[in-house]
């Protein structure tokens, strides 16, 4: 009898695979090169992502019960608030020092992935600690 895949493990695997894809894509776009090697490298995260997606979908998983849904909602709310605060802080900094804030595409990718990982960490915190 094959064991069931834990919901936490499934969420962690998916988040990490998606983060890797986003990071690699950002890095490749930043390079701006369109040679053969870049195209081949671009396939690596996609294959990685698809294989994890295939594995997590094929393997029997625990039900996504109401506590998990509730925790995901709470984690989403907190991540959203943290992101809003961070944006507010950057805007305040820009206004206070009368300077413009330039964020590169790669930095934007890093910020997005960081938000994604933060959301996962908050979810795991709520899910392990309880409400």
């Amino acid at each position: 009898m094959s064991s069931k895949l834990s919901l936490r493990k499934k969420i962690i695997m998916r988040t990490i695979s998606q983060s890797v894809v986003i990071l690699f894509s950002g890095e490749i776009i930043m390079r701006g090169q369109h040679d053969m090697l870049t195209k081949i490298i671009a396939f690596i995260p996609i294959v990685f992502f698809l294989s994890i997606l295939f594995y997590t979908n094929r393997k029997d998983c625990e039900p996504r019960d109401e506590m998990a849904r509730f925790n995901q909602l709470k984690a989403g709310n907190l991540s959203y608030s943290i992101t809003l605060c961070a944006i507010g802080l950057v805007m305040f900094y820009a206004l206070w020092f009368k300077t413009s804030v330039v964020i590169s595409l790669l930095n934007l990718v890093f910020i997005f992935v960081a938000m994604y990982i933060l959301n996962l960490a908050i979810f795991l915190f709520y899910d392990i600690r309880g409400n």
């Binding site: 919901l7 039900p63 019960d65 109401e66 506590m67 998990a68 600690r129 309880g130 409400n131």
Partner: protein, 67 residues
């Protein structure tokens, strides 16, 4: 605020049932049952009724408020 206490652990022991088995019967994760038993999660009405149905008792018997 009154705290919700539960007798799930007691009834589970009486029925010689594991957390995993109860979780499967009501379609939730084992972690949820663990958190319920430790008073770290307040269940929805549906989940409370599902658990009560498994043990064939009333919801009031299974869940009580303590001041």
């Amino acid at each position: 605020m009154p705290k919700l206490i539960t007798k799930i652990k007691e009834y589970r022991a009486k029925n010689n049932m594991k957390q995993e088995e109860l979780a499967q019967l009501i379609g939730v994760r084992r972690e949820t049952i663990g958190h319920l038993e430790n008073g770290k999660y307040n269940p929805s009405l549906k989940m409370a009724m599902d658990i009560a149905k498994v043990f064939m008792v009333s919801v009031e018997e299974l869940f009580q408020f303590m001041d």
